[in-house]
């Protein structure tokens, strides 16, 4: 059981813990309670696909000082024991009468004074991964302490990626890039989109993905609208624009970028849309800087799209990226999150086309003081033809 499975050197986790504890102090939190795969992986290095089962809750408790405590089902003790975590408390789960709640309450109360604030992420882009009734019971059992929103605490730390994290995301991007290069080998007229999606997932695994958490895309004559549907069996036709988008995972880190292809010659509008999205991305690559806001990133890209006579896609035009497929901030007109040196982000300009015939393009970047540094290889300016 001694073999460790750290993914990063221990010092990386100690730095993360230290930064979270500084932020906790600023935010007035005595303890931070984490429940989601991304937050728990970030703090502990505990990486498993077992999260796919909703049956069991998992908890990590971070005190104001000292090491974090894992409060987890016994089935995870072995794997957690191979991370850098040393204080691991387990119960036999699932237990319909007390699924770790009394153990968790005891842990929290021992680590925090009366009347203190227990941080739980409650804000945008978060959720609580435990039964709501158990959360109410926990709130009751911790007595005079009370739950407080820790969204800011977690996000300000997780959003700045270390060099080691950037290297992991770059590796995932490289895997996807090699798979995208092979798309012309398996996507052609007459092929069903479902077969293309399967072949693309196979290519991602062959190129080194540990698993493929996300593949999406679209295809249609001159463009596409819906980009979140499962692939239909409809065969690709000449003139179709095919888009594939992936969140492939290696060592727990995601990429999230896409590529467009024309099946046979594209019409002029499709070519124009692709060049417009390429230029919108290029504009952001040239001008985005720390201290701008998420809303500024939206404006930079939307302006180029509008200037070319198209309507920007509704919703966001990019977002954070790392231990989850999508992280905050969201490049929308509303999001005032300050962009910071060390953020990993996606630039994802989209065109909302007439009759649902649009297009979307996406690259992954590291934001630095000198501007964005590409983590995904740059897409070609002109729509490639298969």
């Amino acid at each position: 059981m001694a073999e460790q499975s750290l993914i990063f050197p221990r010092a990386e986790y100690q730095t993360r813990l230290h930064q979270l504890q500084i932020q906790m102090e600023e935010d007035g939190l005595a303890v931070l309670l984490l429940t989601t795969p991304a937050d728990i992986f970030y703090v502990t290095g505990f990486l498993t696909r077992f999260w796919e089962s909703p049956a069991r809750p998992w908890f990590v408790v971070i005190p104001a000082k000292g090491d974090p405590v894992a409060v987890i089902p016994s089935i995870g003790a072995d794997l957690m024991g191979r991370t850098w975590m040393t204080d691991i408390r387990t119960w036999t789960a699932p237990n319909p009468y007390d699924d770790g709640i009394s153990l968790l309450a005891d842990t929290i109360t021992a680590l925090s004074p009366q009347h203190s604030r227990i941080g739980v992420p409650m804000g945008p882009e978060t959720h609580l991964r435990m039964p709501l009734a158990d959360y109410a019971e926990l709130s009751h059992q911790i007595g005079a302490r009370h739950m407080a929103d820790a969204t800011h605490t977690v996000q300000r730390v997780r959003e700045i990626k270390s060099a080691a994290e950037v290297a992991k995301i770059r590796a995932s991007c490289a895997i996807a890039a090699r798979a995208f290069d092979r798309v012309p080998d398996f996507a052609r007229a007459g092929q069903g989109l479902d077969a293309v999606f399967r072949a693309f997932q196979i290519a991602l695994l062959q190129e080194g993905a540990d698993w493929v958490s996300y593949v999406a895309g679209g295809a249609g004559p001159g463009g596409y609208g819906d980009v979140i549907s499962p692939a239909r069996q409809t065969p690709l036709q000449p003139g179709d624009i095919l888009m594939l988008d992936t969140g492939a995972v290696r060592d727990g880190y995601f990429c999230d970028f896409d590529r467009n292809y024309s099946i046979g010659p594209a019409n002029d509008t499709a070519k124009h849309m692709h060049r417009t999205l390429w230029h919108a991305t290029e504009h952001a690559l040239q001008t985005l800087r720390p201290d701008m806001r998420a809303a500024d990133a939206h404006r930079l890209m939307a302006d180029v799209i509008t200037r070319e006579g198209f309507a920007p896609a509704q919703g966001r035009l990019g977002h954070g990226l790392g231990v989850a497929l999508t992280e905050w901030p969201s490049f929308t007109p509303q999001d005032q999150t300050v962009l910071r040196d060390g953020m990993v982000l996606t630039l994802e300009p989209g065109i909302f086309g007439a009759g649902g015939v649009g297009m979307v393009h996406e690259e992954n970047i590291l934001l630095t003081q000198r501007g964005p540094e590409l983590l995904s290889p740059r897409a070609p300016k002109d729509l490639p033809e298969i």
Copy 2:
């Protein structure tokens, strides 16, 4: 936009709705609010991997009478519009100031009287997939209504699978079975376990999985302990027992079963463990009946394991299966859920071996009045040797 993507005939969804509304009336709920991928897919047929992004909440509201209402980000309108749903209300998400909450509150209040109970699943094996702060705001906006636990409401309906659902699970099992048959082609001494996991995922896709939401396993001399870790690069050795377990997905339905293999000849203890688990499963296949409890299923299998001189694995020895990798009930000594005709379940006896060298075996069944009907092809009694 007219092309439908129903997965099942419309009547299937109407039956589900009807059953939920009967249960809602019994449980005194004026409205049922659903937020998770499995619950929303079950009611609507809305199937997408877009759930991988935690950025946006999605809601389905079921009134006491009449059709359900989807309250969703506009990016999902196209796909939801191709399901059987007709009342689809959208907002442009993510919106950090009001991420659908006022639209959702308006929908709920229009569909329910004052002082009524709004059902939300809060119990074991559930979670709320929306920000906790938004849930508090929603509870405030719905005024004199109050939130009530709808775990029972949802579980009593979802746990009984229709013939159409059983056919889907059987199809996913058949895909996995074909992939398991190919394991001897790519798993052999000297091969890293990580390469085996990749090859197995590729085989699952080649055999027809839409995507592979779960692959786990273990390998070690004479058996294994941890079954939730990502695969390490350690090469397989003669004498190792290799286990692969998968939740492959086709049309939104999961399988969840495993197979064991010996790399070269197995030692006598490993052979004995495998036969013991096979007999434990066989005993449940022969004797499990509706009206037994989940705890009875645990006892049936644990007794065989104990009689053969082994210790049963901690935690559960099987569970429900369907639109999620694992569903309730859990075969533990505590779970008193009544087993019912039409449940799809896994039989998953495990041995907790000395020094962490154990073994686990799993099959998928449909429970009927005549007893279990296998959905996965039966594993061989004797541990197969590669």
